[in-house]
């Protein structure tokens, strides 16, 4: 194996950090939008209105049953020919949001399903109305039990932002591949981005676990 040229990594560092900035920006926006859409979609899914509920189910099944890369290409290359043009950045945000919200809908739904019947009975016997019941009883329990899979999707959103290099978004992976095409320093570049991705992803996971522990405190140590 070749010896690693640390000087080259140092020289590439500013570029890599700019790429990381883009990765984080796209991911952050997509995480935000997908969580909101996920909540809204889950509300429709369990609304009891048949057509809406089926539509959401179909959406989740379709997104989970198709490759994410093809979804990105459809959004970036396909939508303009339907008269809907977005920049690379916003195409990326949209594609990531579409992907992640399908997974969020499913985990929120599973969270809601975990709220036992006795909770509804207890609320009814206390005379709680629908809205306070939903917000003060069901939501805290459902969101807690949905948290692990939601966090998994959040981390997945950051990881999947790497796919956006395929449409030319200048994020972390794109920067590395672009430099490899110029300087052929693949060992140095892959070592760098692997370390950067690991730091970011393990960091976000650790934050998520802290949040989980904090939220589970009322239920004793788990």
């Amino acid at each position: 194996m070749t010896v690693i040229d640390w000087g080259y990594i140092l020289a590439a560092f500013p570029d890599l950090m700019r790429g990381l900035g883009m990765t984080l920006m796209v991911s952050l926006l997509a995480i935000l939008f997908s969580l909101l859409l996920g909540l809204a979609g889950c509300a429709l899914r369990v609304s009891g209105i048949r057509p809406l509920s089926y539509a959401m189910r179909g959406y989740v099944e379709f997104i989970r049953g198709t490759p994410y890369l093809v979804q990105i290409f459809f959004v970036f290359y396909g939508l303009p020919s339907l008269g809907f043009t977005l920049s690379i950045f916003w195409s990326g945000v949209l594609a990531l949001t579409i992907w992640a919200s399908a997974f969020h809908i499913e985990s929120f739904r599973a969270g809601l399903a975990s709220v036992g019947r006795e909770m509804h009975d207890a609320s009814a016997s206390l005379g709680l109305r629908r809205l306070p019941h939903a917000l003060l009883v069901v939501a805290p329990i459902a969101l807690r039990s949905a948290l692990p899979s939601t966090l998994n999707t959040v981390v997945g959103t950051i990881k999947n932002s790497a796919y956006l290099q395929a449409i030319g978004l200048v994020e972390l992976t794109f920067v590395a591949v672009d430099r490899i095409a110029q300087d052929f320093r693949s060992t140095e570049m892959f070592l760098s981005i692997c370390v950067i991705y690991l730091v970011v992803i393990l960091g976000v996971s650790a934050l998520g676990h802290r949040l989980e522990r904090r939220l589970n405190r009322p239920y004793g140590s788990r």
Partner: protein, 243 residues
């Protein structure tokens, strides 16, 4: 639609390549999963730690990075691989890491008493695994494993990034050609159809998977079968495949 019909032979060749890649990564992924599971459950501490670290590393890195890494780094080790095989290798190793997690959780779900009883009956480790542990672990393993297989089929689309001539790549070529020759991009039609093809493939795999799942639940009575199914889906949710 005329366009798709006109280039059906070309697109079909891409689909066949995708199916070939899917078969290779399904087999390769399972092979890697078994190897890594053996590593994780092995007694020697060093081997055990190393396999565990490898599994975590592969599950935490974006799959796109793994695929590109293998594609760019393999030639440096003297193996000049073509896009098809380097992509299959990367996806197989990734699938192996996710599969190992599923297999380990499945085997761990079978109570220790079962293995002790088997040992008391004079079963060796291989016999115990094949005749006692594995059949009981199957209801827990199959549902998430089918999910993994669909993820592997979807992952083969990454071949387009490194230049394997699979379905997505043929679609890209077709779009480039017709945009140059006829003007006006048919991208939404081509990519839309490719989405439908993948969706059909994955739905078929899920349907077959559901049948296999039923087969392994058959020995259990209705109530305990439902219990095993519940447990399986619980584990499925907990260890869902990380992209």
């Amino acid at each position: 639609m005329d366009l798709l019909f006109e280039y059906r032979v070309f697109l079909l060749s891409g689909l066949i390549e995708t199916l070939k890649m899917s078969a290779v990564v399904a087999l390769g992924g399972t092979f890697c999963a078994i190897l890594l599971t053996m590593g994780i459950t092995a007694k020697p501490r060093l081997l055990n730690r190393a396999s565990y670290a490898l599994v975590e590393l592969l599950r935490d890195l974006p799959l796109m990075v793994t695929v590109l890494l293998v594609y760019f780094m393999l030639p440096m080790t003297g193996l000049g691989l073509n896009p098809f095989w380097s992509c299959c290798l990367a996806i197989s190793v990734w699938g192996g890491a996710n599969g190992a997690q599923i297999l380990r959780a499945g085997l761990a779900s079978v109570g220790k008493g079962q293995r002790e009883t088997a040992a008391a009956f004079g079963f060796g480790p291989v016999k115990t695994l094949l005749l006692v542990t594995l059949p009981q672990a199957m209801p827990v393993i199959v549902p998430p494993y089918v999910g993994l297989l669909t993820a592997l089929v979807q992952a083969t689309s990454l071949g387009a990034v490194v230049g394997a001539q699979e379905l997505l790549r043929t679609g890209q070529v077709l779009i480039e050609q017709t945009t140059i020759m006829q003007g006006g991009s048919p991208a939404y039609l081509v990519y839309g159809s490719i989405l439908v093809v993948y969706f059909t493939l994955c739905t078929l795999i899920s349907l077959v998977g559901a049948r296999i799942e039923r087969h392994f639940l058959k020995p259990y009575s209705a109530s305990s079968g439902a219990l095993a199914e519940d447990r399986a889906h619980e584990i499925d949710a907990a260890i869902s495949v990380r992209t």
